[in-house]
Structure formats: structure tokens, C-alpha cells
Subunit: 321 residues, 2 copies
């Protein structure tokens, strides 16, 4: 998960002076935000501070971030001609600010912890591009999928190709692991996922894995089809809290590593409850080396700094036992 | 699922003259809406037109329905004293309008198709009561659960007792099957579900099943824990489209019937796609008598009347084959 955020005072202070877009597009600032949680907590990895939407912007969509409202896309994709008009510029130029942030962050981290790069998966990016923003139920996206399968497949092919290049460029710039976020995959049935989505995620994941770095395949709400998520690709499968971690492992097989899976809301509870649930997850993982402890989704803005510090401590003590 | 709705012209015409609250609270109008889809389509059962929130109103919460915004609760529950102030009036009086609608609907249906009654499950009602409305992520609810478990358990106990009485009263009034809607259960981890929710759902489901009518246990987003949903209770387990129906059956065992599980968005697609997916579900069900074909969630307002008629026809032809 993105580790920096409004729950940190250092981040809020930066956000008083800069918009999110400025933080993302100014490599020095993105590095500063990337390092904030690393300085504050005893974390085992850093993840580059960025967003999943810059690639859509590079492809020709106009993205605006409105505080408290989430992103808005002013020219959403609705028909074949919109999809054909998408550009596929070299990410080394169009997304140079992310790559430069990765280079600088690697230098600053100086081997202290590894740096993770990331991108949104084709389906999740397609939902933003079609819905025009974040949609609880991506109905326009599904309607396009069913009504204009050819348009859909063209769109997904373009997204997959561009994201593949982008992830390769991140590794060239120094990313030591990659995460593909398919945050909306849980809106789909297993058969729609297989037909309309999996081929494109598979292409991106294979491209990412071919660089040689470990690749984390993230999704939420996919407890009914984690086997499919796993066979689609990734060395590590991220599962959310809606499935038990030990069952998840049984279902996808022990050849995959697993990332997860604390409900971020547990950080709002008292320390005893937080410790109980974190230790419960470690027990389910059975201290396997292939377990990356993480939240099942993004940290909530109202989380306290102390709760995060306490969680990191509980996890470290619990896993070294 | 509620079958009537804005996708039907007959319903929209009634809604021009009456608010949703008027339709729900005037038995003659509720019956009219209940019968609209039965007259329009060759359906196998009717479900009483109502809402899940009247029981919360009967218990002392002020519920307002704002068009296009969903329900709002003006005095949400936030602390122990709020929970203690809840009333538990006899549903035969406080919810007489629903019971009267059931009596009248039975008379009108005259044995043509059976009539299903329903209620919201304790957890789903608790999220509305605490969040003050519909919340994509019920964070206040979870925070209360973790921080004040005693308050939580008191609330759930009261909700379960009242809903149990309400469902019993529905059967006395003539309901021939019952459905318990736990629409928000998918927000929870399996362990939180087990500890904070299952005991209360189990009580309600047992109370409902003790009346002798079949009981459908509905939830969404629970593909990672359908075994638990099934062991909590209900003769029929409703699954959404996020899990394959054949796998769902394998996981919960063939002693349960299954309801489901078409994605409502498929009704927005072309007839070929709709037929392909509906027949796919029937194939997964293997023509078992314990399969109730249904959508995995509520019908979308933008659905066309023709698509619903076509779907009913495809399902009937496919299951008689």
C-alpha cells in the first residue's frame, strides 16, 4: 500500500504547500514523501510515491484531482474513436517524473530498504477511463465490455502494452520490485475476468516478471476467485482481509508468496485488538518466509501515527519469534 | 431481489404521484408495486415491496429518503446510551403496514406464485444505524465494534431480537418464504464476521427457520467466506456473481439450495451476451432442483423492460430443457 498519507503530520504539512499533482510530478517532492514513512517507522520496504493515473494522462486523458472527491477524467472514453485516439508515447519521456523519482529515491535509500515501483492494472485503469473517475460499481465499463467487445479488447490491449513499457522503465530506473494494482477486479465475475481481463493482466505481469524483479499482483474483493488471480500472474499474490490467509494459501498453492491482509479499519481500534488481529494473521501465515505482512487496502486518513508504529512493532516482534 | 423498480414504467408512474415512503407505508400501494413485476413477467415468486429500514425507524431512528441519494438517518447511533435508548415495540403494531401488505398481497396473488417476506440482517442494519446512511466502507461501524465491543454486542442483540420477531410476524401474516439481506457482510473479515456478526445472524435465521418456511440467506462480496455464511444459517444461500456457482456449491455442500448469481450489469448488454451468461449459470447449477435463478444484487434502474422479459424467458426455457 502507499505508506505516506494524510495520517502523517509530515505529509499534511507538505500538502498545505503543494497539491497532490505537484507532489507526484516533482521528483524531489515525490522522493521526500516516499521517504517520510521510512524515516518514521521501521518498515521493510519503500514504495515510490505516485498515483495510478499518470499513465492515463500520458495516453491523452485529462485527469483532475479534486480534494476529498478523488480524481475526475474530463474526457472519458465512451466509443471506438475515443480508444483509437489514445496515444502510446514512450513512458521514458511521458512519465519521466516517476522514473526520475525512482532514481533519486534509490540514491537516498542507499540500500537501506528495497524500493517498490507500481502501476494500475489494465482493467482498473479502464474503469477510471470509462467511468470518468472512481465508481463504486463500474456499470459503464461493463456495458461497454458486453456491447462493444472489439472496442474493449482494443482498449485493454493498448493499456496493457503501455503499462508493460512503463513497468519495464521503472525497473530500468531502479525499482527493485513491482506491484500491479487491480483494485477494481473484485467488481467482476470469474468468467468475465477470465475473458475480458486476464489476458491483458497476464501480458503485463509476464512483461514485469521478465525484468527479473519480484512482482506483486494486487486486487481486492476477489476472495471468490483468488485461484484465477494467481494463475494470471505475479510472484506474490496480495489478498485482502475478506479471505483467511491460510485458506488463501491453500487455494492458490504454496509456490506463490502472499501479501496481506489486515483490514485497515483495525488500526482505528484499541492496541489490544490491533495486536490480536495482527498476530492472528502471522499465525495463519505460519511464519512462512513467503509472507509479506501488509494491510489489505490503503491506510485510512484518520489512522493515528501511534497505531502504525505499534503495528510495525507487533509484526516485527511476532515474525522474529 | 426487489423486482419492482425504476426500470418499469408502471413503477415510475406511481413514483410520480407518491414518495417511496408512501408506497412502502400504504399497504394497498405496496401491494400494487409487489404485483407489477408479477403481471409484467413470467416470474416464479413475488417479493413484498418494502425496504430494510422500517425496523430501524420502529426502534427509534429517524430515517429520511432523499431521491437519488439513498436513505439518511438523522440521529445515528454513536454510543452506549444511543443503543440503550432503542425501543423494541411489537412489530405487529409498529410495522403493521408491512404485515397488512403481506396479507393483501397473498389474497391478490391467490396462490398464483408464492410470496417472499424479508428483513435486513443485524449487521447490515447496524451499519446504516451507525454510519447514518449507506457507506461504501463502514468505518465508523468497525471502529465501534473494536473500541466498544460491549455496546456493539448490545446493539446486535437488540437488532437480532427485533428482526426475529418481525420475520415471525411476516410468516403469521402469510409470507411463504423469508429472505435475510446481509448486503454489507462483505465488508468484514471472516474472523470479524464470526465473532461480531454470526451469532446474531444465526439467531435470526434460526428464528425464521423455526416458523417452517424456507429461508434465504443473502449477502454480497462474501466469496471468500461462503462456507461461514452457509453454516451461519438459511436453507438457501444467495451468492453474488463474484464466485462461480458450481464452486460455491462444492464449497458449501449440496444440502443447501443456492440462489444466484447473474451480474445485474449483464442486463445492460446485448441479448446474445445475456443469454450466454444466463445459460452458463444454469449449466453450472447442473439443473439441480435446489437452484433459484436470480441476479446477484438489485436490478439496475437503467435496465430495459425487454431485457428482463428476455432473461426470464431464457431461464425458463433453459431450466425446462
Amino acid at each position: 500500500m502507499r505508506q505516506a498519507g494524510r495520517y502523517m503530520e509530515a505529509y499534511r504539512r507538505l500538502r498545505e504547500r503543494y497539491t497532490m499533482v505537484q507532489l507526484v510530478k516533482t521528483p524531489e517532492l515525490a522522493v521526500e514523501v516516499t521517504l517520510q514513512p521510512i524515516r518514521a517507522f521501521d518498515l521493510d520496504a519503500a514504495i515510490i510515491y505516485s498515483d495510478i493515473l499518470p499513465p492515463l494522462e500520458a495516453m491523452g486523458l485529462q485527469v483532475e484531482f479534486i480534494d476529498g472527491e478523488g480524481p475526475i477524467i474530463c474526457n472519458p472514453l465512451r466509443r471506438q474513436t475515443d480508444v483509437e485516439a489514445l496515444r502510446e508515447p514512450d513512458p521514458r519521456e511521458s512519465l519521466h517524473f516517476v522514473l526520475q523519482a525512482i532514481r533519486l529515491a534509490r540514491r537516498e535509500l542507499d540500500g537501506h530498504v528495497p524500493l517498490i515501483g507500481f502501476a494500475g492494472a489494465p482493467f482498473t485503469l479502464a474503469t477510471y477511463a470509462i467511468e470518468g473517475g472512481s465508481a463504486r460499481n463500474p456499470i459503464l465499463t461493463k456495458a461497454l465490455m458486453y456491447r462493444e467487445p472489439q472496442t474493449w479488447h482494443t482498449l485493454m490491449e493498448r493499456l496493457a502494452r503501455f503499462i508493460g513499457h512503463y513497468l519495464q522503465a521503472q525497473v530500468e530506473a531502479g525499482a527493485q520490485a513491482l506491484q500491479l494494482f487491480d483494485s477494481w477486479a473484485g467488481a467482476l465475475s470469474p468468467s468475465d475476468y477470465e475473458y475480458f481481463v486476464a489476458p491483458y493482466s497476464r501480458y503485463v505481469l509476464q512483461t514485469a516478471q521478465a525484468t527479473g524483479v519480484p512482482v506483486i499482483h494486487f486486487s481486492t474483493g476477489t476472495g471468490g476467485m483468488i485461484e484465477q488471480i494467481a494463475t494470471t500472474g505475479g510472484n506474490v499474490i496480495a489478498v485482502d482481509w475478506r479471505v483467511q490467509l491460510d485458506e488463501a494459501w491453500q487455494r492458490i498453492g504454496y509456490t506463490h508468496a502472499i501479501q496481506g491482509n489486515l483490514d485497515p479499519a483495525v488500526l482505528l481500534g484499541p492496541p489490544e485488538e490491533l495486536a490480536r488481529q495482527a498476530i492472528g494473521i502471522l499465525k495463519q501465515a505460519g511464519n512462512r518466509p513467503g509472507h509479506i505482512f501488509n494491510l489489505g487496502h490503503g491506510i485510512l486518513p484518520q489512522t493515528s501515527f501511534e497505531a502504525v508504529a505499534y503495528l510495525v512493532d507487533v509484526v516485527h516482534r511476532g515474525s522474529r519469534r
